[in-house]
C-alpha cells in the first residue's frame, strides 16, 4: 500500500512540473511589461549611456524575450535567482532566510484554522434545527466577512495597544541572539534548549497566526457542517442508531470519519489562500518573512526578487496541493487504484 501511495505522490509531482513551467513563463512575461530598466536601476544615477548599455548586455536584457526566459530558467534550476538590485545580495540567500519564517507562521496559523474550523463546524452541526441556528449561521457569515489583515489590525489594537499582552513586531525580542540551525525559529530555540526564547518566539507569532487562523476558519466550519449533514443521510448512521450506539459515538467514530474528507480537501485549498494571506499579515506585524521581502521588492521595483518570491509562493502552493491530494488517497481507500 505504501508503494502505491508513493507512486501516486510521484505521479502528481510530475504533473505539477509543467504547471510550474507555465507559471514561471507567465510570471516572467508579466514582469517584462514593467516600464523600468533593471540595468539602469542597478547602476548609480551618474552612469553614462554606454555603461547602462554594457550592463544591459551583461544582464542579458538585450536578447529576445524567450531567450532571456530560458537563461533565467536555467539559472533558477541551478539555484541561482540572480542578485537583488536593491539589497545587492544573492536572491537565493534572501529567500532561504525568509521562507522558513513564513512556513512556520502559515503552519501555526493552519493548525489554529483547523482547530477552530472543526470546533465551529461541530457546533454549527450541533445547533442545526434549534433556535440557535439562525444566529450561529449569521455569526459564521460575519466571520467570513473579516479578512485576515483586518483581524491582524484589530488584534494589534486590542492586545498590543489597549491591553498590551503580546508583542506585535518582528520575530523575537531585541535582547535575544537568534540561533541559526534550520531557520525555523521554534525548532532552533528548542535545539538549543532555550525555552525562554522559544516562549518569546511563540508570543511573537501568536497574534499574526491567530489573525490568519481565525480568518480562514469559517470556510472550514461551513464545509464540515454541510458534509456532516450529508453523512447523516446515509444508511449506516441509522443502522448505528439501531445497534444502540450513543449519539456521541456515532458522531465521532462514524460520521466525522467520513465528513472530514471533503473538509480536508477544502483545507488544502484554504492553505494555498492562507499562504498568500501571510503577505499582508507579515507587513502589518513587521514579521521578517517572504511577504515583507516581496512588498519591499515591489516598492523598490526589484525585479529579481519579485520573480523569485512569486515563484517560491507557487512552488509551496503546488507542493501543498500535491501533498493534500495524496493524503486524501491515503485516507480514502475508495479512491485507491486496485
Amino acid at each position: 500500500m505504501n508503494g502505491t501511495v508513493l507512486r501516486q505522490l510521484g505521479r502528481r509531482l510530475i504533473v505539477a512540473l509543467p504547471i510550474l513551467a507555465i507559471v514561471s513563463a507567465l510570471l516572467f512575461a508579466v514582469l517584462r511589461l514593467l516600464p523600468v530598466d533593471p540595468a539602469a536601476m542597478s547602476l548609480p544615477p551618474t552612469a553614462t549611456v554606454a555603461e547602462v548599455e554594457a550592463k544591459r548586455a551583461e544582464m542579458g536584457l538585450d536578447r529576445p524575450l524567450p531567450q532571456q526566459y530560458l537563461i533565467w530558467l536555467r539559472n533558477v534550476a541551478a539555484g541561482d535567482f540572480g542578485t537583488s538590485i536593491h539589497f545587492r545580495r544573492a536572491v537565493a540567500g534572501l529567500i532561504a532566510e525568509t521562507l522558513p519564517a513564513t512556513i512556520e507562521l502559515a503552519g501555526l496559523a493552519m493548525l489554529i484554522a483547523a482547530a477552530l474550523g472543526i470546533a465551529g463546524g461541530l457546533y454549527l452541526f450541533h445547533v442545526r434545527g434549534t433556535a440557535k441556528e439562525p444566529l450561529a449561521d449569521l455569526g459564521s457569515i460575519v466571520l467570513l466577512s473579516i479578512p485576515e489583515f483586518l483581524w491582524g489590525l484589530f488584534f494589534i489594537l486590542l492586545f498590543g495597544v489597549a491591553v498590551p499582552l503580546l508583542p506585535f513586531t518582528g520575530r523575537l525580542a531585541a535582547g535575544f541572539q537568534r540561533p541559526v540551525h534550520t531557520g525555523f525559529l521554534l525548532i532552533d530555540t528548542l535545539i538549543d534548549g532555550r525555552l525562554d526564547m522559544f516562549r518569546d518566539a511563540l508570543a511573537h507569532m501568536a497574534l499574526p497566526a491567530l489573525a490568519l487562523g481565525i480568518a480562514f476558519s469559517p470556510a472550514i466550519m461551513r464545509v464540515l457542517r454541510s458534509s456532516l449533514i450529508d453523512v447523516y443521510h446515509e444508511e449506516y448512521i441509522g443502522q448505528a442508531r439501531l445497534r444502540g450506539l450513543s449519539e456521541r459515538r456515532i458522531l465521532v467514530r462514524h460520521a466525522l470519519k467520513n465528513a472530514i474528507l471533503p473538509t480536508l480537501s477544502l483545507m488544502g485549498v484554504q492553505f494555498g489562500f492562507l499562504f498568500g494571506g501571510t503577505l499582508l499579515v507579515e507587513v502589518i506585524y513587521s514579521y521578517p518573512g517572504l511577504g515583507n521581502l516581496m512588498v519591499d521588492a515591489v516598492r523598490n521595483a526589484d525585479l529579481p526578487i519579485i520573480q523569485a518570491v512569486g515563484l517560491t509562493y507557487c512552488v509551496v502552493v503546488l507542493l501543498i496541493n500535491t501533498m493534500v491530494d495524496t493524503l486524501y488517497l491515503v485516507l480514502d481507500p475508495r479512491l485507491r487504484p486496485r
Binding site: L150, V161, F273, C314
Partner: protein, 283 residues
C-alpha cells in the same frame, strides 16, 4: 400573498442590499455629504481625535490623519474607489469566467481540458500574490486595479460554473433542444444560461466583497490607485504609523471595509438560499 419577489423577502438580502445601497450612495453623493475636501491638508490640526473626545474639533467629526486631512471625508470618498472596483472588477471577472465556463462545460473535450488546465495554473498562484505581481507589471491606477482583479478572480467563476454548466448540458431538455436543431449559441444562451444565472448572480455578489478586500490590500501596500485618490487601504497604512496617538483612525477604515464586505456577503448568502443554488463552499 405578497407582491414582492421571493428573494426580496429574505432578511439577509434586504439587510445586505441596505448596506450596499448606503455605501453606494455615500460614494455617489460624496461631494455633497463630505464635510471637507478629502485631500486638503490642515497641517496645524494633524492627528485630531474624533469630535466627541477631548481635544476634538467639530469641523472634523472623525478627526484628522497625519497630514491633517479629514478622516470622515476620506472615508466617504474612499467608498468611491471601493464601489467602483467592486462593481467593475466583479463584472469583468464574471464575464470572463462565465464565458469560459460555458464554453468549457458545453464543448467538453480538448476545449474543456485546456480551460481546466488554465484554471489549475492560475490556482497555483495565491490570489494576493498574483494581483500584486500584476500591479507591478501594469502600474498603479484605478483601471489597472480592476484589470488585475479580473485577471486573478475569473477562476472563481469558471471553476464553480463549469460543473453547473456540465450538469445542465446533460439534462433532457437541452438534448431535446439539440434534436430540434437549435444552434449552439441559442442552446447556450436560451437553454443553459437561465439555469446557471442564479449561481452567476450569487457569485457576483460574493466577488464584489472579495474585490473590496483586494483593493484595500493593494492600496495598503501602495499598489492600487494613485496617492491623490483616497482609498481605505491607504488610510489604514497611514493610521498604522500613529497607532498609539490616534487608534480611532485605524478603527474607522477597518469598520468601513468590514461593513461593506458584510453587506455583499449577506446579499450573496441570502440570494444563494432563496435562489436555491448548489454553491460549493469556500472563499
Amino acid at each position: 400573498m405578497s407582491a414582492l419577489p421571493r428573494w426580496l423577502r429574505s432578511g439577509r438580502v434586504v439587510a445586505g442590499l441596505l448596506i450596499v445601497v448606503l455605501v453606494a450612495l455615500a460614494a455617489v453623493l460624496a461631494p455633497l455629504v463630505a464635510p471637507n475636501d478629502p485631500q486638503e491638508q490642515h497641517l496645524v490640526a494633524t492627528l485630531l481625535p474624533p469630535a466627541w473626545s477631548p481635544g476634538g474639533d467639530a469641523a472634523f467629526p472623525l478627526g484628522t490623519d497625519s497630514l491633517g486631512r479629514c478622516v470622515l471625508s476620506r472615508l466617504i470618498y474612499g467608498a468611491r474607489v471601493a464601489m467602483t472596483v467592486a462593481i467593475f472588477a466583479a463584472l469583468g471577472a464574471m464575464l470572463l469566467g462565465a464565458v469560459l465556463a460555458h464554453v468549457a462545460g458545453y464543448c467538453g473535450g480538448a476545449v474543456d481540458w485546456t480551460i481546466g488546465r488554465a484554471v489549475d495554473v492560475w490556482m497555483s498562484f495565491p490570489p494576493v500574490i498574483l494581483s500584486l505581481i500584476l500591479m507591478v507589471g501594469l502600474g498603479v491606477g484605478l483601471g489597472n486595479v480592476i484589470l488585475a482583479i479580473v485577471l486573478v478572480d475569473w477562476t472563481r467563476f469558471c471553476r464553480v460554473l463549469r460543473a453547473e454548466v456540465m450538469v445542465t448540458a446533460g439534462r433532457d431538455y437541452v438534448a431535446a433542444a439539440r434534436l430540434v436543431g437549435f444552434s449552439h449559441w441559442r442552446i447556450v444562451t436560451r437553454e443553459i444560461l437561465p439555469a446557471t444565472l442564479p449561481l452567476i448572480i450569487t457569485l457576483m455578489s460574493l466577488e464584489m466583497g472579495i474585490a473590496v478586500v483586494v483593493e484595500a490590500i493593494l492600496s495598503f501596500v501602495g499598489m492600487s490607485v494613485s496617492a491623490n485618490q483616497p482609498a481605505w487601504g491607504q488610510m489604514i497604512a497611514d493610521a498604522r504609523l500613529s497607532i498609539y496617538d490616534t487608534p480611532w483612525n485605524l478603527v474607522f477604515p477597518i469598520l468601513a471595509i468590514f461593513v461593506t464586505v458584510l453587506g455583499f456577503n449577506l446579499l450573496g448568502d441570502g440570494l444563494r438560499r432563496t435562489l436555491d443554488v448548489r454553491l460549493s463552499e469556500g472563499r
